[in-house]
Amino acid sequence: MNLIFAITIGVLFGSGAMLMLKADLLRVVVGLVLVSNAAALTVIASGLTRGAAPIEPLPPGKPVADPLTQAMTLTALVIGFAVTALLLALVYRVYETHRSVDLDDLSRAEATSGAELGREPLEREDEREELEV
């Protein structure tokens, strides 16, 4: 069971991390959702014990599963949900101002608007690099 969980978490985290490296902001958000679920699954996996459901009245003499990790996972999921909503709102705002959710387009637009404002292109290049990291 531990192995299955470990592999699943690894695959989830890996795909999430890969998506986060894309230039498309929606993919970045989806990648973050995958990573958040990998974390939630890790919390579940940290309390993997064999036993009956921990519901009152407890079965006498038998081991029960750890209820604490379930509560923690629920909390982590709610937080992940809130964060996803916030990120999507931010991405939508980016889309509203730039009509694009591609980071390459964004930095290009920023470079041209910077040139229009009369700032030195060198300085903008510098900032663009930071944005792309």
């Binding site: 986060m20 990573v35 890790t42 923690m72 980016v94 920023e110 930071e130 990291v133």
Partner: protein
């Protein structure tokens, strides 16, 4: 009602109610400031009590100990909570005085203060995560609150990078629960010695990465200049003066308090990364002309001092790290508040902040730097003392450059009108406070001393 619970009980309902009100109205703004002021006073009272009587504890919901969630405040938590809430208070007051443009800004500041207070005063690892996310989510929203394409882009990068850090932290918490079977910080510290060393190192590295990202330490710093440069001044002040404290606190609490053996093992790595951070931040800051960017890179450099102190270890170094974090938070908060302003008083406030951050007496920052020197001398390492001196000298150079750029050289294209009197008066008050702490540092020194001995006593117990 317990003094421990009081700040949370003041902030929570107020934040929820004020989220419905229009924060652009002056009455709403000033009442938010008043509520934060009350919370700050309560936290100061708590800190005074802790210095007199030792750590305060409270188990939530009347549950027996080890079942209920525990709130626990020691000198480290209380001092960090007080200084963070104070910086939030100053930034909010400044923003309200200048006229808030974002509707939700005051309420978000309250939520941020609530999250910070909660995470500094909790004694439960998972509870720490919940409050931590509350503070971080408010910060993401705050950094995007002003609108504007550049701000939104910066906020998005800030949110994505820090969320990745948060999830790594959550995974580390799960691993800690798996290996120790408890979430209580005190119990975790007791059982940490029994963890299999290989696992413990993995956990410690995860915590280090998570808090390194928050603090903006050298290899994890890349998100920092983008957001510090684009956020509105009040928000940038809060990020640098209050939110960065989470990283410092987390490293001290989880590194120095819970996993001290692993910190000892990684001593060389910590000192090397800290030194790299100090040098990198200083050199980048010297090359910048924009005041905001100078301050952003300076924040990366100052993150390094905390890590170096943690690497040195021992009560003297830990209390130096606490002291440095507190005074540096005040100085950085002040600098970010005044960096975009023009007019009389503002230049003097900037100079006081710059001297404090560079560690020139009689400003508060001097005692932070002096404590770090003391720790370096006690460790008997010439290299560390030289590094601290060079770092301090470089700080002085780039902050003075920034000051000169902003206040001595009247640029022809600077059409910004001088700031309103309220917005200029507040940084001046903050500057006077920094001077006052520099002239009468005994209470702060006592608090930092106790924080250092508390943390190292907890780890030496088993």
């Amino acid at each position: 009602m317990s003094l421990l619970l009081a700040p949370l009980c003041v902030l929570w309902p107020a934040a929820a109610v004020l989220a419905l009100a229009d924060g652009r109205r002056r009455a709403v703004g000033w009442s938010t400031v008043a509520i934060l002021g009350v919370a700050f006073v309560l936290l100061v009272l708590l800190a005074v009590r802790i210095v007199a009587e030792g750590p305060v504890e409270l188990v939530g919901g009347g549950w027996p100990i080890d079942v209920g969630i525990r709130l626990r405040a020691d000198a480290l938590g209380a001092s960090m909570a007080a200084v963070s809430v104070f910086v939030v208070l100053a930034a909010l007051a400044q923003d309200v005085a200048a006229g808030t443009s974002a509707r939700l800004l005051p309420a978000l500041m309250l939520f941020l203060a609530l999250g910070l207070t909660g995470l500094f005063l909790t004694g439960d690892v998972f509870n720490f995560y919940v409050f931590f996310e509350l503070a971080m989510i408010s910060a993401y929203a705050l950094s995007a609150a002003e609108g504007g394409p550049r701000t939104t882009g910066g906020a998005l990068i800030f949110a994505v990078v820090n969320l990745l850090g948060s999830f790594i932290f959550l995974i580390a918490v799960a691993a800690l629960y798996r290996t120790t079977g408890t979430l209580e910080m005190v119990a975790v510290a007791e059982r940490a010695a029994e963890i299999d060393p290989n696992t413990a190192i993995l956990i410690a590295v995860s915590f280090f990465v998570a808090f390194g990202v928050k603090l903006g330490l050298f290899p994890f710093h890349f998100w920092l200049p983008a957001i510090y440069g684009s956020a509105p001044p009040a928000v940038a002040a809060v990020l640098a003066g209050a939110l960065a404290n989470i990283g410092a606190y987390g490293l001290l609490r989880f590194g120095g308090g819970l996993l001290p053996r692993e910190v000892e093992l990684g001593e060389v790595v910590l000192i090397a990364l800290g030194s790299a951070s100090i040098i990198y931040g200083a050199i980048q800051a010297i090359g910048r002309r924009d005041g905001r960017e100078v301050l952003a890179y300076s924040a990366i450099g100052h993150a390094g001092y905390v890590i170096v102190a943690l690497g040195i270890g021992g009560p003297v170094a830990i209390s130096a790290a606490v002291l440095f974090t507190v005074v540096n938070a005040l100085g950085k908060g002040l600098l970010f508040l005044v960096v975009d302003l023009r007019g009389p008083l503002v230049g003097a406030a900037f100079a006081v902040g710059a001297f404090s951050v560079a560690g020139v007496p009689p400003m508060a920052g001097f005692f932070g730097k002096a404590a770090l020197f003391e720790a370096g001398i006690e460790a008997g390492s010439v290299a560390i003392v030289v590094l601290l001196f060079v770092g301090g000298a470089l700080t002085f150079v780039y902050l003075f450059q920034a000051y000169q750029q902003a206040h001595w050289r009247p640029s022809p294209d600077d059409s910004r009108p001088p700031a309103s009197r309220g917005a200029r008066l507040l940084p001046a008050l903050l500057a006077v406070l920094i001077l006052a702490i520099g002239l009468w540092p005994e209470p702060l020194l006592a608090l930092a001393d106790q924080a250092g001995s508390d943390l190292t006593a907890g780890s030496a117990r088993p």
